[in-house]
């Protein structure tokens, strides 16, 4: 798959169908970008499970932090990776092992080899994007801040 741009429809479908997001690299520090993303996705009804070995046992917004994807018993829709591009490789491989449906690497994070392995295993891979920003863009909410959504449509939309 082409990873330089993604069709709007694909992103919409992923965000519509998914419920459980494992956020790898989630921070307990409230002014880190991952905290912002988790907070937003929670308010949109996603079940976000923070994953971070350094904070395992603590809680972020009422959810227990786990040390690794392996400790998550429920089925994972999206593994959202807040790590650098190199570290994203092993996390993506772990996502394959635990049977996640989508590997989603954050803005600025891209690992094409890991993506190829995940795609070969049947997962969908999105890179260099933020699910919060994509949700806000496709719902039009980000436009309230004057951000260019790029969405042109004569359809009335109540949700993404």
């Amino acid at each position: 798959m082409n990873h330089d741009s993604y069709p709007e429809k694909l992103i919409r479908e992923i965000l519509r169908k998914s419920r459980t997001i494992a956020m790898v690299g989630a921070s307990t520090n409230w002014n880190r970008p991952s905290y912002f993303a988790m907070k937003y996705l929670q308010t949109k009804g996603y079940h976000v499970i923070p994953v971070n070995p350094r904070s395992a046992g603590e809680e972020i917004m009422g959810v227990a932090v786990v040390a690794s994807l392996k400790y998550i018993s429920e089925s994972i829709d999206i593994v959202d990776i807040f790590r650098n591009s190199e570290a994203a490789g092993p996390v993506s491989d772990e996502a394959i092992e635990v049977g996640a449906k989508v590997v989603w690497m954050q803005l600025g994070v891209r690992n094409d080899e890991a993506a190829a392995r995940a795609e070969a295993a049947g997962l969908t891979v999105i890179m260099n994007r933020c699910p919060k920003i994509e949700y806000a863009r496709l719902s039009g909410e980000i436009g309230w801040m004057g951000i260019n959504t790029g969405v042109i449509s004569s359809k009335r939309r109540l949700k993404i």
């Binding site: 741009s5 069709p7 709007e8 429809k9 409230w30 002014n31 970008p33 905290y35 912002f36 907070k39 937003y40 308010t43 803005l107 600025g108 806000a136 039009g140 909410e141 980000i142 436009g143 309230w144 801040m145 004057g146 951000i147 260019n148 959504t149 790029g150 969405v151 042109i152 449509s153 004569s154 359809k155 009335r156 939309r157 109540l158």
Partner: protein, 436 residues
């Protein structure tokens, strides 16, 4: 159409300028289905609960709090402008001047410096040399006709370069790309006031600009009924280089130590301009004005085509007129800016031009008093044709030397050519010229 050809289609086609001018930012209202843009004439917006309010104030979720910060009608205009300029984000302000203030408020600390072109709207020159100076923002103006002049004026504390791509009032086209290269070599952004060009004639981001400002009061609103301004950010400038822009990279005390560039990435500039500068300085655009301006923008391409065609014809008429000394319009082959005009403004050299009438200051005053169809007033970009004698009006705060450098010498008359029947415009000028 067969399934196959549907499959081959680009799933997310790029829309043309005219389509964006009508649609960008404006979907039907999700609740009511309203197709025209609702005017959200309200100061404030209810919170769902205390937690929602807290998340909004912390910038963790998107939503409306208070119209000084965001308003859904104004937001349509912001998205429309971001779309037309192909930028990342935009922020409206109560006037073009207010938008300029917000841009510099993000970039500058007291004691910082920027370099601007000499060839600017007179009000901008005064804003920079007087009011900005009072706030500790220093600036140097240089003759923008030679881009190297910008390099020569750079200082260690220089934070930006500011130009008008098509300067008001002079019909002067600046070599924007060369100025952008100089700014980027110095690790600073190029700010372009594109008011006279509008995104229809020129898109500064394609030529290296980092931030665009517009007075929406002019061609964008287009009907002379509403003041407004906007800043648009390309989202491409690296604010972390060189540690020059602490507002964007350092922890912000009013948001509990949030770092804007780290948190909002390519949206950092426009969000900081909104939630720091607009929040504290306060020049928000009214939703009613945003609505009028949006209605104007829908016809921007049509108006600009007609106004450029009319301006070219009026310029050609004046050039051949025995009482006219000279005409400055980049669309004329005789203009020293013709080639730059072809490069940067291939669809037309705009609708503002200047000419010198034989007989200097006094003759200039006579012309503006003798026209019957052109309106004698201090504005540009209306559907109506407008006329002004800058030396006695917009540029009178400047010394004669500075006014001349800015393209407003004593004999200069400025026209903003409207959408009327062009023969009527020529006849009006002809009868006024006949009286001097």
């Amino acid at each position: 159409m067969s399934d196959d050809s549907a499959k081959d289609k680009d799933p997310d086609p790029k829309f043309g300028f005219e389509t964006l001018a009508v649609h960008a930012g404006a979907a039907p209202d999700p609740v009511t289905g309203s197709r025209a843009i609702p005017i959200h004439q309200t100061t404030s917006f209810v919170f769902d609960d205390a937690e929602h309010a807290a998340s909004l104030f912390n910038l963790q979720v998107f939503g409306n709090i208070y119209t000084r910060l965001t308003n859904p009608t104004v937001a349509v205009l912001e998205q429309r402008m971001a779309g037309l300029e192909n930028g990342r984000g935009a922020l409206c302000a109560s006037s073009g001047h207010a938008a300029q203030l917000l841009v510099f408020h993000v970039l500058m600390e007291a004691g910082d410096h920027f370099v601007s072109a000499q060839q600017l709207y007179g009000g901008s020159l005064t804003q920079f040399s007087q009011s900005f100076k009072k706030m500790g923002w220093d600036s140097t103006t240089v003759d923008a006709r030679d881009p190297e002049n910008f390099r020569a004026a750079l200082q260690p504390n220089t934070k930006a370069i500011f130009i008008e791509n098509l300067a008001n009032p002079g019909g002067i086209v600046i070599h924007m790309q060369a100025v952008a290269d100089i700014a980027h070599e110095a690790g600073i952004p190029l700010i372009v006031d594109s008011t006279l060009a509008t995104p229809f004639l020129n898109q500064p981001f394609e030529w290296g600009a980092d931030i665009i400002v517009h007075s929406l009061t002019k061609f964008l609103g287009g009907h002379g009924n509403s003041l407004g301004g906007v800043l648009v950010d390309s989202g491409k400038f690296d604010w972390a280089q060189g540690g020059k822009f602490p507002t964007l990279t350092e922890p912000q005390p009013s948001y509990h130590g949030l770092r804007f560039y780290e948190t909002f990435g390519d949206m950092a500039f426009s969000i900081a301009a909104r939630v720091l500068s607009l929040r504290d300085l306060g020049p928000a655009l009214s939703p009613q004005n945003a609505f009028y301006i949006l209605t104007g923008i829908e016809t921007l391409p049509l108006r600009m085509e007609r106004q450029c065609a009319n301006a070219f014809e009026v310029a050609t008429f004046l050039e051949a007129h025995p009482k006219v000394e000279w005409v400055s319009y980049a669309g004329l082959k005789s203009s020293p800016y013709y080639d730059l005009g072809q490069k940067y403004l291939p669809k037309g050299a705009g609708a503002v031009l200047t000419f010198g009438v034989k007989g200097g200051f006094d003759a200039g005053v006579k012309i503006v008093e003798n026209v019957d169809l052109f309106s004698h007033l201090a504005n540009i970009g209306d559907t109506r044709s407008l006329i002004l004698h800058p030396a006695s009006t917009t540029h009178r705060q400047l010394s004669e030397e500075a006014a001349t450098a800015a393209g407003a010498a004593p004999d200069v008359i400025r026209l903003s050519v409207g959408i009327e029947t062009v023969d009527d415009l020529k006849r009006d000028l002809d009868q006024a010229l006949a009286q001097v």
